[in-house]
Amino acid sequence: MHDTQAIRQLVLRGRRRDAIFAIIGLICMMIGILTLAVLLAGLIQDGAHRLNWSFFENFPSRRAEKAGILSAMVGSSLVMLITAATAIPFGIGAGIYLEEYARRSWVTNLIEVNVTNLAGVPSIIYGLLALSLFVYALDFGQSILSAGLTLALMILPVIIVSTREAIRAIPVSIREAAYGVGATRWQLVRDHILPYSAGGILTGVIIGLARAIGETAPIITIGALTFIAFLPASPISGEFPFINFEWLESPFTVMPIQMFNWLSRPQAAFQENAAAAGLVLVVMTLVMNGAAIWLRIRFRKRIKW
């Protein structure tokens, strides 16, 4: 029952199918990549010539060639600061609690399902919630604080889920090892869980922030202004007490809203401004995602289970 010819035929047929699938896969991938590349190329073509220092140093203006993104960038940065400062501790804390402390019961199961679903809720819904909660009920006004908290709320599920996944990747054997020598739950979390899951958690945090920085709808909902020709009070001052929190209550704008505003103008020159701002935004998110990848690789290298 030995027929070399037949075996070769069989192998050849298999190989041919391999090649066909490889080509199909390549086409699928290229469609995605090429679309992105064309988009980016379009942005560069339209907006690249507007990218000079004055574009970054100027406030928005009625005259397209004098308009800049200073207030939008500062606004975006400050909003991100609030978002990060609240979402990171709450998200990681909640994730650790759910993984390490909470007993399995129908309540935790319910919470679990809800947290996962929250990550899929349309962002404008967060805007509505924030409008009634932060802007009116808590009276934070249409401020940087409200915006930061809104975005924090939005990315909280992302951080919780990624924290839990990072913690779950730690093998049970490590937990047993720590408990086995007499560690308490807190010692386990502090000495093992947090250090070993830091890479995964940070990745989740960065991806969440990258999503938040491009978010428009909830910010518009809570009433961010589109035309801001001044900067909020600086958080750091030269006089005692050196730090102030007035900026929290300041009106603001952010990058995507600035873009939106320019896009809605009829003049071609403003369209160019929008493209240039879009370019800046894309680069910012790419850098953040790149940082996430880099962190993941770095932590992976140190820890292998």
Binding site: R104, I174, A177, G180, V181, G182, D191
Partner: protein
């Protein structure tokens, strides 16, 4: 009958058998009394009564799912980490006679006195030094010189000092499997446990590494009581003084290892250790 026993004894002593030579000196270290254990509604251990002698090696054998690992894990309350588990009966730990299963006894307190070595080597992703020092840090030891001393002593006791003395700051993962397991033994020894639990410690290791660990167990029993689960019957015959055979959550037979392996009292034991249909 008495005459025969003394004759038996004198023959054994003449043969310089260490396990029986010191036999009369053995003190009780722990004792399971009417021990039951449940995973939810599923009773995994049924009325286990068994004594564990101090400075002896006691082996638990039995087919998969017989409850030997479950039993072992009662000793350091590892089941507390899982929801929906329940203990019944007692494990009295000497010399103070505390019932380590009692609700009022903190499992952390139990684990401070009873160390464990697991089936797969599970060093922390930290340096060799930090792995061994961790148990001391958990106990609030801050004195660096003291920690360094104890780490070295533990590594020596675990017969791995000569292999790692030059690279204590290396990651533990860079060691071979057998070295990692000895490192884990050192980690447990550093905290000077009174009882050391081994859960199939060599099932992931090659024969050389296995021989190393078995030799180590032989030496360790001078200063620590050992309870070991193994699915390798020859290993139980080699390293243990007493052997317990478990089946379907029950303790079927318990006795001196030589007797269990040459002339077991129960048919189930015989069938298991000789590879027969039950």
């Amino acid at each position: 009958m008495v005459e025969k026993n003394t004759m038996d004894m004198s023959l054994r002593v003449a043969a310089k058998d260490p396990s029986t030579e010191t036999a009369p000196l053995a003190e009780l270290k722990a004792e399971a009394k009417g021990l039951d254990f449940w995973y939810g509604d599923n009773q995994a251990l049924k009325n286990i009564n068994m004594r564990i002698d101090e400075f002896r090696v006691t082996a638990l054998i039995g087919p998969s799912g017989c409850g030997k690992s479950t039993y072992l894990r009662c000793f350091n309350r590892m089941h507390d980490l899982q929801d929906n588990t329940r203990y019944g009966g007692q494990i009295l730990f000497q010399p103070d006679g505390v019932n380590i299963l009692d609700r009022s006894v903190d499992p952390i307190e139990v684990r401070m006195r009873i160390g464990m070595v697991f089936q797969k080597p599970n060093p922390f992703p930290k340096s060799i030094f930090e792995n061994v020092a961790y148990g001391l840090r958990v106990r609030g030891q801050k004195n660096r010189a003291e920690i360094a001393d104890r780490v070295e002593q533990a590594l020596r006791e675990a017969s791995i000092w000569d292999e790692v003395r030059e690279r204590l700051d290396d990651m533990a993962f860079n060691l071979s499997g057998g070295q990692q397991q000895r490192l884990c033994i050192a980690r447990a020894l550093a905290t000077e446990p009174e009882l050391l639990l081994f859960d199939e410690p060599t099932s992931a290791l090659d024969p050389n590494a296995t021989a190393n660990i078995e030799d180590l167990i032989h030496r360790l029993k001078e200063k620590v009581t050992i309870l070991i689960v193994t699915h390798n019957m020859q290993q139980a015959a080699r390293v243990s003084d007493y052997t317990a055979f478990m089946y379907l959550g029950e303790l079927v037979e318990f006795g001196a290892t030589r007797g269990v392996f040459t002339n077991p009292a129960k048919k189930q034991t015989e069938d298991y250790i000789t590879g027969r249909y039950g």
